[in-house]
Every structure is written in structure tokens, then in C-alpha cells.
Amino acid sequence: MRDVVIAGIGMTPVGEHWEISLRSLAYRAIRAARQDAGGLQPQALYVGNFLAIDSSRQANLACLIADNAGLGGIEAMTVEAADASGAAAFHVGYLAVASGLVDVVLVVGVEKYTDALGPEQESAVAQAMDYDYEVMQGLTLAAQAALVMQRYLYEYRPPREAFAAFPMLAHANAVTNPYAMYRRAVSREAYERAEMIADPLRLFDMAPYADGAAAVVLTTPERARDVTHPLVAVRGSIGAIDTLALHDRPDPLAFEAAYHSVQRACEMAGIRPGEVDLFELDDAFSIYAVLSLEAAGFAERGQGWRLAEQDALGLRGRLPILTMGGSKARGNPLGATGVYQIVEAALQLRGEAGANQVPNARRALVQNLAGPASSAFTHVLERYSG
């Protein structure tokens, strides 16, 4: 397998982009990533997207996006793994370059959540679950997270307020991220006052769904030698699944796919999970951030919430997470989220994260989940030094 580097990154602000079409949103991120990559010509496009086939009535999205971006004739396909589609597309892009088959790959994660409204949106997003046996019982992704959270509270008895630390951290970090949807701090009082979405899950325990697109250009170090900014190497890239339905798991708090993908990605990179400078985990729900920390081995089972109390997770802590605001405050563009995480980690490793810079960030662990870690894709990224 060849070395693979990220030669270019680009993204749009996350938000409600009523006025921008699905194809144009993707194009904005593509244009930025291609400019950043200094004119490398992509030979393949892999699109991460979750909802377009339902909410936008659009199949073969990758063909449309490549066509609209003036990339006629190249290979293009969409990669779908619900809200882990972005990282799944990045993984496919990595494989294409690493295998030697393709020299320059473009990966774009794009989501137009606002193409559907209200209950229709809830239904579209619910398709991440087992349709026959979860969705048909009236379950939503938020309610599914609430089932996990309720059980966690029952088994481990953390104080209910312990979860507040995660949205508070995300919002604090998003204040200085120009691409974030919510650039304001959230107080503990606001967290506790917020409406109940699905008991015990409150409004701030859930990342808000939104529109957005993020893109990267992947290539070999040789092909990227004329790029003027630092390169980021992909050292580990692994996906794993659990049961799709939450109810089929012997232990729904174990997040086994998250565990296995971290273990194998770190093994591939030749490191231990502790040997990273930041962890861009998936905070689609605050309980999932806690379980991801536990599954990656950064805390004992039932103790993940304590890391936030010890202030270990801030930009200057020993394990910074959600460094640009995470899905909670950057916004959660579902099938694009995994690519946003990669772009944000790349900014950190290039030393270009501005006020959000993690000091001397050399290596990052990045993990994107579908639902309650039904699928997990974990990447180890490193500042490339030849």
C-alpha cells in the first residue's frame, strides 16, 4: 500500500442553506479543496451523503456532483453509511489511492437536510435504524440515544448534569470557528433549562441537523510535492460494524464497533490510542461522546463523563476533543460530518486552526459513527514529515 496524504481541504459554513442547491453546496467545498491542493486534477470522486435519495429525490448523486463541477468522464460514486457516510467515503478514497489504482481522489461529504421539513425530516433521518423493527415502532435517532442514556444513568449512576460538560465544551470551541453554526457559549443553566426532547435527553444533548459540505483531495506524497502548505498523512483507516438495531446488542453501552475500529486503526498506524494529540469524536448525542471515550479506552466503562469534569478535554487538556465545536456547535450535516471532522483535524495538524489550535498537534484520532455506533470509521492522521 502506498502512503496517502491530504493535499487539499475545503468546507462551507454549516447552517440552513435554503438558497443553495445540493449540487452547488458540494461544489463550493470542492472548489475550496481543489484550490488548496494547488491544481491537482482528480481522477475519481467519492461522495458521502445520507439523505439525498429520500429528501432530495436524487440518486446517483456523485454523477451529478462531478458533472456539475466540470469533472466529466471521471469515476464517481456515492458511499452511504447513514451519518457515517462522510468517513466511509473518505475511507474509500484512501483505499483508491493506497491501492495504486488512482493517483488523485476527491472526497466530498454533502448534506441538504433542509430539503425536507418537520416530521418528514425525522422520518428520513430515522432510516439510519432498522426500519422494520425500530422505525416502525416510532423510534427516532434522538429517542434511540435517549434509550442508551437512560440505561447508562441506571447502570452507572453518574449525576444527570454530568452530560452538560460536552455541549458546553463544544459551544466554547465553536465561538472562534467561522464555519460553525452556533458561535456562542452555552451555560450550565441554559443546558438544564432546555426542553426535553426524549427523556432524559434534553435539547443540548443532541447535535442540531444542518446543511453543509466539506471536501478533501487525497494523493501520494510525490504527486503533492508542489503543494505549499503542510501535508497530512493518513496512517490508519478502518471501518467496523455492530448490529444495526440497538436492541440486538448483548450490551448496548459497549459501542463495540467504535472499540474495534479504534484498535485496528491504531494498530495499522503502529501507535497506541493514547499516543494522539487530539480526538475528533462523534458527539451526535452527548451520551455518544461519553461512550466513544470509553470505547477508545480513554476511560473505564461508566467513567467517561468524568474526563470532562477533570478538564482533560479542552484545547489545552491532555486529550482535546471537539476542537472546532463538534457536531453539537459546528452543526451536524449528517452524511458530511465525517469529512468535516477530517478537515478540522487537518487544520489542527497543519497548525492552521487559529484560536482553536491545539499546541504542537502532530497526530489526531478521528471517529465518525452511524447512529449508536452501528457503523464506526476511525482514522489516524499525522502531520507529514517526509
Partner: protein, 135 residues
């Protein structure tokens, strides 16, 4: 909408028909082609008793399409006495607070208004608290 799909699932929805693995004897619901316990093919039907306990639960306020009229409603993970855990709504709760460990039993109820104007209403399993009957 989706008529063949709902027809295909009616045994599971009305009668909790799952499987017992002929190789390792584990009970399986919903039915699977491959037994998750031993990896062999599972095809022998098994009807569950419909009795179980609440493993986790939540009450939703924002319902997806087709469930708006029912909101707010309570969805639970129910651990069946034969082993499997399933996702199902709780019903007939009255003023009763739901607790983890609470005994429940299956009943058949309307589960989604598919297209009520055309008279397509879906029925299926829900669970209610076990009635304490005087002996």
C-alpha cells in the same frame, strides 16, 4: 404504500413469531437468516410468550411522520423472558411511572397511521404493564 412489506411482517407484528435456533437452541427475535449466537442458519419458527421486562425507555415529544397523532408516546427496549430484547411502544400506562425492570406483556394495537384517508392502518405489538390480578 409498502403493502407487500407489511403483509410479509404480519406474523412478527401480530404474534411475535421469531425463531429458535436448531443448532444452539437460542431464541431469536426478530427472525434472522443466520443465528447470531452460533453462526448457523436459523429457520425454525418459535412464538414468544409476549412477557418481558423494561430494559430502558423514553418518552418522545417530536414524532416522525405517521406517528404525530400518537405523540407524546413512550418507547422501550423490552427484554423478553426468552432472552431477546425488542423495541416497542408501551401502552395503557395510565398514571403509572415507567421503571427499568417493570414487568410488561404484549398487546396488539394500532402502531402507525400509514394513510388513514385510504383506510390503511398498521397494527402490531405494543407492551402494557402486567395487570396485578387478585387471586
Amino acid at each position: 404504500m409498502e403493502i407487500p412489506r407489511h403483509w410479509r411482517l404480519k406474523q412478527q407484528r401480530y404474534a411475535l413469531v421469531g425463531e429458535v435456533c436448531p443448532h444452539c437452541e437460542e431464541k431469536i427475535f426478530p427472525p434472522r437468516d443466520v443465528c447470531p449466537y452460533c453462526g448457523n442458519e436459523a429457520k425454525t419458527q418459535f412464538t414468544f410468550s409476549g412477557r418481558g421486562t423494561v430494559f430502558s425507555f423514553t418518552t418522545l415529544t417530536e414524532a416522525p411522520a405517521g406517528f404525530e397523532q400518537a405523540a407524546p408516546y413512550t418507547v422501550a427496549l423490552v427484554k423478553l423472558e426468552e432472552g431477546p430484547v425488542i423495541t416497542a411502544q408501551l401502552t395503557d400506562l395510565g398514571d403509572r411511572p415507567v421503571e427499568i425492570g417493570m414487568p410488561v406483556e404484549m398487546v396488539t394495537r394500532k402502531i402507525r397511521a400509514e394513510d388513514e384517508a385510504r383506510g390503511v392502518i398498521l397494527y402490531g405489538y405494543k407492551f402494557r404493564p402486567v395487570m396485578e390480578t387478585p387471586k
